[in-house]
């Protein structure tokens, strides 16, 4: 406050002499704390508006127009929500579809999901990928973080080994897995009479990259291989921020390792794990590049595959509708996440 009064004192009271700059400074200084915070956030909001909300609104606007495959125009007439209703009801069959799970099974459990509908097929594929990969990434990442948090010889080398997959570009990673399952190159798949162990166990068919179920498994494994490291790094940061004296107290009180983990580590690292899961879930819901390089969208169609392929087919209305739905799903997910976990102090998220 002393600084404030000094600053105020330095501005001549006989206004007009200071000019607009001084008047501006005074105006800022007179703002309340909340208003000042919003003022500082204004550039960020403007930037977000330009790079996120405006394109999203444009996408929504485009999604309300018909595809114009025959005319030189980018989109056709205004059709309201027709693209959405046709996508959801399966009338819009203009894109990818390749059921990777038996339609009978899924229709039995979830009769409202029509796997013969390109959109719901993509939605199911995306959700299965997201749930399975994020689940295993969290478990493996947590395990890796716990290991890295220990003090042992060669810890640095282990850390490098864990981080390396994260540093590999997606296309290269995709090519690695693609080649591993190429019969004349890779070692994981062989022809009849020459089947590998994994094939004999029935994990893979002889053509895993053209079999939707196998390809889905490969893409999930590839994603886990790469992004567990990301989870590990985030969770490790959370682990290292825990006050070590808590463990000392616990030890003195005679707590076992498991009790220490359950009563100290888990609750304190939980918010970080939630943040890491949030990031990974958002990324998994947008999966595209890995699929395209490993087995192509023709084999494992995800929501982003639908967006890209429809765009390539010049079906801009359809593409925009799928893109908007994908963004909306992510938006709803993020909101639910934040509302549910905000109270448990998610480190500011």
């Amino acid at each position: 406050m002393a600084t404030e009064s000094e600053t105020q004192g330095s501005i001549p009271r006989d206004s007009g002499k200071g000019g607009p700059y001084r008047a501006g400074v005074r105006w800022v200084e007179n703002l309340g704390d909340a208003a000042f915070a919003y003022l500082l956030l204004l550039p960020v909001f403007l930037l977000l508006g330009v790079i996120a909300f405006w394109p999203l609104l444009r996408t929504f606007e485009m999604s309300l127009h018909a595809d114009a495959l025959r005319s030189a125009e980018a989109v056709g007439a205004f059709v309201g929500l027709q693209n959405y209703t046709e996508l959801l009801t399966g009338q819009r069959r203009s894109n990818l579809i390749r059921p990777f799970i038996p339609s009978v099974a899924i229709n039995g459990a979830f009769p409202f999901i029509h796997v013969r509908n390109p959109f719901t097929t993509a939605l199911t594929a995306t959700f299965i990928f997201t749930i399975v990969s994020v689940f295993f990434e969290t478990i493996i990442g947590f395990g890796q973080a716990l290991v890295l948090d220990q003090d042992f010889r060669g810890r640095r080398w282990v850390r490098v080994a864990i981080i390396i997959p994260w540093a590999v570009p997606i296309v290269i990673q995709g090519m690695i897995f693609f080649l591993m399952f190429q019969p004349n190159v890779g070692f994981l798949v062989g022809g009849p009479g020459n089947q590998t162990f994994l094939q004999q166990l029935g994990v893979f068919s002889s053509t895993p990259l053209s079999t939707p179920r196998d390809s889905m498994l490969i893409v999930i494994v590839a994603d886990i291989w790469k992004t567990s490291a990301f989870m590990a790094l985030l969770i490790l940061a959370g682990l290292q921020s825990i006050d070590r004296s808590l463990y000392d107290v616990a030890k003195v009180s005679g707590a076992s390792k498991w009790q220490q983990f359950k009563m100290i580590t888990l609750p304190l690292v939980f918010p970080t794990v939630m943040v890491a899961m949030l990031f990974r879930t958002i990324a998994a819901l947008r999966i595209y590049g890995l699929i395209e390089t490993v087995s192509t969208c023709n084999t494992v169609p995800s929501l982003s595959c639908l967006v890209v392929k429809s765009f390539g087919q010049r079906a801009y209305g359809t593409s925009a509708a799928v893109a908007f739905i994908t963004a909306a799903i992510i938006g709803v997910f993020v909101t639910v996440y934040i509302v549910n976990f905000a109270r448990s102090d998610m480190g500011g998220v």
Partner: protein, 466 residues
């Protein structure tokens, strides 16, 4: 479009008379192409000038992506926003028609009728057909065609007692029955890893080409008679569930799973192809052949250059037309049957928004000169687009490819274009998926084709609306 063309002529003439400011007072035209053409940009200008192009006109190659879909998307953006540059565009024969249907290329029949007429008379007919509108107007000039052939190990085939030269395999196509029998025999005799390698991955190359070729060789088709290849969308029959198509798929299953497969086709010798073909595109399928692990291999002309190189198979490489299921005379649809080869290749078209229309027309006209086409054949392996060019002594002197011109000519004459319409990009992925799954381990050809028929019907109907 006429208005654009007329104003373009006026401005173009002004450009020629007064020149522009791109250095040297001449006109520099940009052509959207790939890095192959960019590499020979300097030479290309010399070839064009030597062939009669005005010295005031220079070509600058914009080397775009070598991935055809990406080029198509780029052109869509340029032409939809009425960009004036590039003046010239190389378009894939597989997707020129959607641009033509949307009025986004200059009508060459209207603007350079003499050249258009010559191209229609002298060039490979199948190539020309992919650059015409519904009224027969030409919108792009084929620069080079691309059609596949069957590559084989001539040394091993001879060792097995066959006489490819005496039996004239180069020009006389054989049936799939005989082909499979020979392949199996040579494969077993030499303990080869693979008999026949080809591409059957679920990708664009399957629907446009491999699958199209197999079904056509049995007299089948996607949309009935060949006159329906380019439309009318929504008003043409869908014939993918007919016997010739299903027979072709059954033959493929026999190739892969042998004669005991529940869907095997009688008369075909089984067990000659690996299941791996279901996930192979061009390069992975070529590799075993060039490594000496396969007897027969289907691929594009570039593979002849690769496999016929001295450090690979050299003169042990044999090339023949693609085998057939039924003869042309017995095919259900006219134009199918016999040694059908899927058509690829690229054209050159003029951007209707260019102010340099006259100069662009002069370039296109000069590109139709045989001298320029031969230089492109020699330098980057682009086949000349006239069947007659492949008869010449000059063509025979071209290293490697020169040895197989008869086969390429036969393939060119029997080339079948993909059915490109505004609906094709959507239909293509469905066709690839169903064909691939029909030949997959637990596939069922008839069931897959019945599904495909209903999917194609939906697309045709919805594309008809918009």
């Amino acid at each position: 479009m006429k208005a654009v063309g007329a104003s373009g002529v006026a401005v173009g003439l002004a450009g020629c008379i007064y020149g522009d400011d791109s250095g040297g007072g001449g006109t520099t035209l940009k052509i959207a192409s790939d890095s192959d053409l960019k590499d020979v940009q300097g030479k290309l200008n010399n070839w064009l000038h030597n062939a009669g192009l005005s010295k005031d006109i220079t070509i600058e190659v914009l080397a775009g992506s070598s991935i055809t879909d990406q080029r198509q998307q780029k052109y869509t953006q340029w032409l939809s926003s009425n960009r004036e540059e590039p003046a010239l565009l190389m378009t894939d024969s597989g997707w020129s028609i959607p641009f033509i249907a949307r009025g986004q290329l200059l009508n060459l029949s209207e603007n350079m009728s003499k050249t258009a007429k010559m191209v229609k008379n002298e060039y490979f007919e199948a190539s020309v057909n992919t650059a015409l509108d519904e009224n027969g107007n030409l919108f792009a000039v084929p620069l080079y065609p691309d059609f596949p052939t069957m590559l084989y190990r001539k040394d091993l085939v001879k060792k097995a007692g066959y006489d490819p030269e005496g039996e004239n395999w180069a020009t006389k196509s054989m049936t799939w029955k005989r082909f499979s029998k020979i392949t199996k025999e040579v494969m077993n005799q030499n303990s080869m890893k693979y008999g026949y390698t080809f591409q059957f991955k679920s990708y664009e190359g399957l629907s446009c080409c491999d699958f199209n070729e197999f079904i056509s060789s049995y007299g089948g088709a996607y949309f009935g008679p060949l006159k329906n290849l380019f439309g009318p969308v929504g008003d043409r029959p869908i014939t993918v569930d007919e016997k010739p198509v299903v027979d072709a798929l059954r033959m493929l299953r026999t190739f892969i799973y042998g004669n005991n497969d529940p869907h095997a086709l009688n008369g075909i010798t089984g067990g000659i192809a690996p299941t791996a073909v279901l996930q192979w595109a061009e390069d992975p399928s070529l590799q075993p052949f060039t490594n000496g692990n396969a007897v027969m291999h289907r691929n594009w002309p570039y593979a002849i250059n690769t496999a016929g190189a001295e450090d690979k198979l050299g003169k042990d490489l044999g090339v023949m037309p693609i085998p057939y299921g039924v003869e042309k005379s017995k095919a259900k649809y006219k134009g199918t049957g016999g040694p059908v080869a899927a058509l690829g290749g690229w054209h050159v078209a003029i951007n209707p928004n260019t102010p340099e229309t006259e100069a662009a027309k002069e370039v296109v006209r000069t590109m139709t000169k045989e001298d320029v086409q031969f230089k492109l054949f020699q330098e980057i392996g682009w086949l000349p687009p006239r069947p007659s060019s492949l008869d010449s002594k000059r063509a025979k002197e071209v290293p490697v490819m020169g040895r197989y011109l008869d086969q390429l000519r036969i393939a060119g004459k029997n080339a079948i274009p993909r059915p490109v319409t505004v609906a094709w990009p959507q239909e293509s992925s469905k066709i690839a998926q169903q064909a691939n799954s029909a030949v997959g381990e637990n596939g069922n050809p008839q069931k897959a084709m019945t599904n495909l028929k209903s999917q194609l019907k939906d697309i045709e109907n919805s594309s008809k609306k918009n």
